[in-house]
């Protein structure tokens, strides 16, 4: 089995404060892993660290270079560009051409010429998720991918993830809702909450 991501003894910090420590897991190709945990525990920080947007405090993230695609809380859409232009742009950045599959998967074909600024929140999110398909990357790192999606769209997303896993891809996502993906493993990050550091000297108390 090919390892997509291997995380060992990882500690991450947000705003200079350590939020999670000692996290280890591996994600193989064809697998999905769902991160659970209360608000503020550091799921987003963990995902951003794995995506390479910020350095870890300690530990390491091993992944095939150029295999990860990240999708955060925002979709990175330009309001004045049309759905087609937005998706085409990301396809070109990642060196792909064909976006019709992604348009079809998320039922965006009828919205193709509409400016992204005129889409509803759920439609914007669908466009943001369609971006994952056009990148052609194997490891999806997703932060709350189903926010503002309706039930049908969640099913669309689950279908896209399942197809992606079937093609040897893998997905790591933080979400609170049940996607209906029975094959996905669940990792609760709450036990890894970082302990407040013991101040080792008098000055340390004030730092």
């Amino acid at each position: 089995m090919v390892m997509a991501i291997s995380v060992s003894d990882l500690s991450v910090a947000r705003g200079g404060i350590k939020v999670l420590e000692g996290i280890s897991f591996t994600l193989a190709s064809g697998q999905a892993l769902v991160l659970r945990g209360p608000n503020g525990i550091g799921k987003t920080t963990l995902l951003r660290t794995i995506a390479g947007l910020q350095p870890p405090i300690s530990g390491k993230v091993e992944a095939t270079p150029e295999s990860i695609v990240y999708a955060g809380h925002t979709d990175g859409l330009k309001a004045t560009l049309s759905v087609l232009e937005n998706l085409n742009f990301w396809a070109q950045v990642f060196g792909n051409k064909d976006i019709s599959g992604a348009m079809k998967q998320y039922e965006l074909t009828t919205l193709a010429d509409r400016p992204a600024g005129a889409l509803s929140a759920g439609q914007k999110r669908r466009l943001g998720l369609a971006r994952l398909l056009v990148t052609g990357r194997l490891v999806w790192v997703l932060d709350e991918p189903t926010v503002s999606l309706d039930r049908d769209a969640v099913a669309m997303f689950a279908g896209a993830v399942r197809a992606h896993l079937g093609q040897g891809g893998s997905a790591l996502m933080a979400t609170h809702i049940d996607l209906g993906l029975d094959e996905a493993a669940i990792l609760d990050v709450a036990p890894y909450r970082a302990k407040a550091p013991e101040p080792d000297d008098f000055d340390g108390v004030f730092l």
Binding site: L53, Y70, T80, F89, F94, G95
Partner: protein, 218 residues
């Protein structure tokens, strides 16, 4: 990279993109000057190169905070940072797009604005040449400032304070080159200095901008 350039140019042309904003600002500054200093044509001719350079600089400053702020707000900067483009290439393309939508129109429009300030005929060539050589440096330095202040709410003022001192060498040699041209003097030295500053900033600052962006995205 070309996709990013095309997208940025397209965004600048669309509604709210800010294309032409700098140009209109430049026009207003240049037309306000005669109201401020009086309509004496000999006086205007003497200060024309300096005013045109100052106007170009301020017009350039006006649109700097848009370089990264919009991409940061809608999350595309995060996504670009994880895309297979090196960060240095992203900031270089951004600077190029800024120059193409701000600096280049200023260069093209400068002769018309020179007319408004009674710029002597022999001054047009050195003025345009100095703007062509100098405005890329304004965009590249400005991109660095924008990278430093990305993510700050109301970062525009701080950006101006950071960037304006860095514009001083470009302004000195650019205006000096145009002024000497108007006076019919040899302007090789300021031209070489100006070209040197521009080449130096283009070669070095993208690395600094990329490093600043990486820190700001954490």
């Amino acid at each position: 990279m070309i996709a990013l350039l095309v997208r940025d140019l397209k965004l600048a042309m669309r509604a709210g993109g800010g294309f032409g904003l700098g140009l209109a600002f430049f026009l207003i500054v240049v037309t306000l000057v005669p109201f401020g200093v009086g309509p004496k044509s000999s006086l205007l001719a003497a200060i024309a190169p300096g005013i045109l350079w100052l106007g170009a600089l301020l017009a350039c400053l006006l649109s700097l905070d848009r370089i990264f702020a919009l991409d940061w707000e809608d999350g595309s900067l995060d996504l670009l940072a994880t895309a297979p483009l090196p960060m240095e290439a992203i900031v270089s393309v951004k600077a190029l797009a800024h120059w193409a939508t701000t600096g280049l129109p200023l260069v093209v429009a400068a002769p018309i604005f020179g007319l408004l300030l009674n710029l002597p005929v022999e001054g047009y060539k050195p003025l345009i040449l100095s703007l062509i050589l100098g405005t890329p440096a304004l965009s590249v330095i400005g991109t660095f400032g924008a990278a430093l202040t990305v993510g700050l709410k109301r970062g525009g003022l701080l950006l101006s304070l950071l960037v304006l001192p860095l514009y001083v060498p470009t302004l000195i040699f650019g205006a000096e080159m145009a002024r000497r041209g108007v006076a019919g003097l040899d302007n090789t030295t300021p031209m070489l200095m100006l070209a040197g500053i521009t080449c130096g900033t283009i070669a070095l600052l993208p690395f600094a901008s990329a490093a600043a962006l990486r820190v700001n995205l954490r």
